[in-house]
Every structure is written in structure tokens, then in C-alpha cells.
Symmetry: C2
Subunit: 305 residues, 2 copies
């Protein structure tokens, strides 16, 4: 498989609380068709791309909460997406809420997968850095209950052979933690898909509201450069459920340069040419880990408690 | 001591190979005097601020090499600098090559210190990420022999109480490694001094020459934001010994914003107001390590070999 192809972030505008999966999947299919016309071979959809960002609400009713989770992947709702990918030979990244029934009860994850151009799941990741809080905080203008509605991912930070290279996934808040990017970089990641839902307003430090786009790009660009990997970031954007989400979906080169960036906060595809061999310019030189990293000096980073 | 004060990067233009210490110290004193007039309380001088960046040359003669190192700190050459700091009540950061005589032979470090407004050394750091190579590579337009002329620092990544807060030091290449910034961040660093000598031309990947300033700022800004600390970066800049060095000296806020930046590649002071209490906006929220870091998931980062 060629290591040179066009990749894209497929940004989504708002998904309302009651928007049915079929409607969302129709939007994803439209973006996939745009991608096909632009010769794109890999498309990154956002985090929790099949529903609204439901952790913004305190949902006491379990049946109501469960509605936002997928119990199987693929499933009947997303089957058309897998079929379109197969028909077009286009790989994609998809984020979704995952519910697993076990003898001990329900386990909930914030999950994302890579699907290849033959419709096969090539990599699955469950979010490790869950932001927000666990309890209802009615004084906030909106909740951020990821620590309540998900448990920490149990798959580590995996990479997989994908699209002719090594690919990994981070989800939203993960991207701000250099440890997460480095875990992928140490395994040779050449392309990292990052879906996100990031409010414009940060109630605990509203003086930073104006910096949300800057912090998003700073994190993605530093992660790309410091690990010599492409990064494709895809936002859920716009006014959703009364909450404004940033856009800024982008394709970032292994040099940290932004190659393409979204101009709107709606459904939008931004594409750029990717040449996985260019990762070597960074990986073999300034960030040659074997020559220059000093892992025995980093003990504080893994100290627990 | 007030946690709110003016801090500055004191960028240096070139220091030629035969420039005597007295001449260099006179330049540092002039910058310190500029700082005093601008009400600056803390000044960051660059890495190896007392000499030219001698690792660019293969120096076979040991006596010739030894000339570039300090055997004591302070010493007679820099005594006027310590005296001026004391007289003005101005703290400073100074990088220099350090030579220690031991029974087993000479030990060489790339070192930097923090000196407080009473002329006392408050922190010493020896560079851990030594870039470049060990052997003579005559095919290169210039050498980068830090791996030959220095051994790896043996003091870890220390922080100290300084100027009413917690301060740390990184040296040049260290700043590109998020592990180095994080080691300081985990100890509560609120201000990190970073001196650097960074060639504009990177012979092993010259396609990145145009990106040197961008990569410098990206690394400093990400390190500041991801650890909620001020970062003060000071360059040795301009054409030195036939090699062009980038400038871009700057003061970076804990939000990652560049508050002040050099406009030249010569001797230049860039100052900005620092309020160490503002670190809390980041440290107590988005990068609240106790709430959100997942150190037991970062095992790959400290794996040796």
C-alpha cells in the first residue's frame, strides 16, 4: 500500500440530543462522499461522532443514558458507513460511546476505532484521560461528566499497522498530555487520529475561553513535532445543546505545521496530502529516541501517588 | 517576596572564538543595567553565555578546549556580574561550561545556575539532553560535539524556591523534550529559565531550516502550557563563528502565550510582567495533575533499552 495519500478531518457541526443515529450517519455518509470526490483515502470523524456530547447533562435515568451508547460495532445503524468505506476503499476513524454488558454490570467507555478501506476494524482505543467530574455540579452552566459516564480505558495506548504505516488514536483531552502522544511515538506512530468535543467556555477558568483554539492547535502541533507523526484532529463544533464547541479541525504534519484547517463550525471536510515517509525527517534526527532520549532520567513521570 | 515582578530574557548576539571573558561580562553588565532601568527583577542569560558556542569546532588540543570552561563559579571574571546583581537586587540565570577536576580526571558539564538578588546561587542544573555527536564529522559544515565535550548532567531536573516561587532550569535541547518540562512541572515549577544556542541550519534535515524559530517557540509554549509555568527563553543569536544562530528570545505565560519576543539577533533585552499566582489557572484546572494524570499508564516512557 502506498504510504502517500490524501487524509482528511471530517468535522461535524452540532448533533442535537434527540437527533436519530440514521440522521447522523447520513451526515457522515455525505462527508465520506465529499472525501471520495477529493481522492481522500482516510477520513477522521470526531469523538462521540454518533450522538450529541451527552456528558454535558446530568442524566439520572439509566435507560435514557444507555441510549447514547453502542452495544456492538459495527451495528445496524453504522452498517451503511462501513459499506460506503468498503465501496470507496476509504478508511476512517470513528469515535463512539461503548457499552459492554458483563456479569458484574455495565462497563462504559469513550471509544474510537480505525476502519480500513475494506471495512475491517484495524485498531480500537478506549480513552484514558477522562476530563471533568463525577458528581452533579448544578452551579455550572453545563456539566462535564466524563468521569461519571465512562471508566478509564483498559487497552493502553495501542498502535496498529494501518494504511501502509503505523497508526494510533488519542481522544480529546488525551491530546493535551504529552505522555499520551509519547506513548504512541515510542511505538513508531506515523499518523494519530484525534477526535474532540471542546467547549469554547471553560467555566473553571473563563479567562482562558479566548485561548481554546490556540490550546487545541498547540497540543496537536507539539504532539506531532515531538514524535514525528502526522496528526489529524476532528472536532464536533458549533452550538450543540446550548453549548458552544470549538472547531479548528486540521491535518498537522510531522514538523508540527498545520497543513489544512477548518474554516467553519459546521460539517466540513479538510484534506491534505500525507507522506508517511516524511516522518523520518524528525524520527531519524532531532527526535531520534534511541540516540537522544534519557528514559532513566524520567522516573518522576511514572511515579504513582 | 512579591510573586509579581518583571522578568526578562537577555539575548546575546555572537561571541567570537577569541572574545575575552571581560568583554563578554561587560556586555552582560550592560544588559543588566538595561534591566535595572526597566524595573526588571530577574534576567535570563543564554546557555554557555560566557564564550562562543565552542562545540561547533573539533578541538583536538586539550588546553585549547579547557579555555572555554569555568573551574569555579563565581570566579574573578564573573565577579562584577554577581556584584551588579547584588547592587541592583536583580536575580539572574547564567549558562556556562563547567570543568571539575577529580582524581579520575576532568569532568565536563553544560551547566546553568540561578543567582538571586543578593548574589547567592540558588539552583544549579547540568544539562541532561546533550544533542549532536561524539566523533569528528568533517563533511558537516560545522560540528555539534556536545556529546563529546560534556557528560550527561548528574543533578536530575531540580527545582528551588526562588523569587517567591518555584523555579527550574532547562538547557537548549532539553526544551524540546516534554519529559524534561514535565519533570519540573511535577515538582511545581512556576518559572523555567531556558538558555539556548540553536543553529538556523540543521545539516541532517536542511528542509527544516525554515522551521527553527517555529520549533523553538512551539517547544517553549507547549512546555509552559502543559505545566502551567512561565518560561523565559534566552538565545545566543546571530552569525557566530561562521554559523547562524536563531534568536526569538521570549517570555512565555503559563497559558503558552508569548508575552514578549526579541526583534533582533543581537544583544537585546525583552521583558514582561510575571505573576506567579497565574500559574494556578492552569495547575488547578486543565492540568490538575492529581485529578487527571494517569502515571500508571505511562510505563513506556521510562522503559530503558
Amino acid at each position: 500500500m502506498s504510504r502517500r495519500f490524501v487524509a482528511a478531518a471530517a468535522q461535524l457541526g452540532p448533533i442535537e440530543r434527540d437527533e436519530p443515529r440514521a440522521s447522523v450517519v447520513a451526515r457522515l455518509l455525505a462527508l465520506l462522499e465529499t472525501a471520495r470526490r477529493r481522492d481522500v483515502r482516510f477520513v477522521v470523524f470526531p469523538e462521540l461522532a454518533l450522538t450529541t456530547f451527552f456528558p454535558r447533562w446530568w442524566i439520572a435515568d439509566e435507560a435514557e443514558l444507555d441510549r447514547f451508547y453502542e452495544r456492538a460495532m459495527p451495528n445496524a445503524d453504522v452498517a451503511p458507513l462501513f459499506a460506503a468505506a468498503r465501496a470507496g476503499g476509504i478508511g476512517f476513524h470513528l469515535g463512539y460511546a461503548e457499552l459492554t454488558e458483563t456479569a458484574a454490570g455495565k462497563i462504559r467507555h469513550n471509544t474510537a476505532i480505525l476502519v480500513d478501506g475494506e471495512g475491517r476494524i484495524g485498531l480500537k482505543y478506549r480513552k484514558i484521560h477522562l476530563p471533568g467530574h463525577r458528581e452533579h455540579e448544578p452551579a455550572l452552566p453545563f456539566q462535564h461528566l466524563e468521569k461519571r459516564y465512562f471508566v478509564r480505558g483498559d487497552l493502553g495506548f495501542p498502535v496498529a499497522d494501518f494504511m501502509g504505516g503505523k497508526a494510533g488514536i488519542l481522544i480529546c483531552n488525551d491530546r493535551r498530555w504529552p505522555e499520551a502522544f509519547r506513548s504512541l511515538g515510542l511505538q513508531g506512530a506515523e499518523m494519530v487520529a484525534v477526535g474532540y468535543n471542546t467547549p469554547q467556555h471553560y467555566p473553571r477558568a473563563p479567562e482562558h475561553d479566548r485561548l481554546q483554539d490556540f490550546h487545541n492547535h498547540l497540543s496537536l502541533q507539539a504532539g506531532a513535532y515531538q514524535n514525528g507523526t502526522y496528526v489529524i484532529g476532528a472536532a464536533k463544533a458549533g452550538f450543540e445543546g446550548g453549548c458552544e464547541l470549538i472547531g479548528g479541525s486540521c491535518v498537522v504534519a510531522p514538523t508540527g505545521e498545520i497543513l489544512a484547517v477548518a474554516a467553519t463550525r459546521g460539517d466540513e471536510l479538510v484534506a491534505a496530502e500525507v507522506d508517511l515517509d516524511r516522518c523520518r525527517e524528525i524520527k531519524a534526527n532531532i527526535f531520534n529516541f534511541a540516540l537522544h532520549r534519557q528514559p532513566d532520567a524520567y522516573g518522576l513521570l511514572t511515579k504513582v501517588g
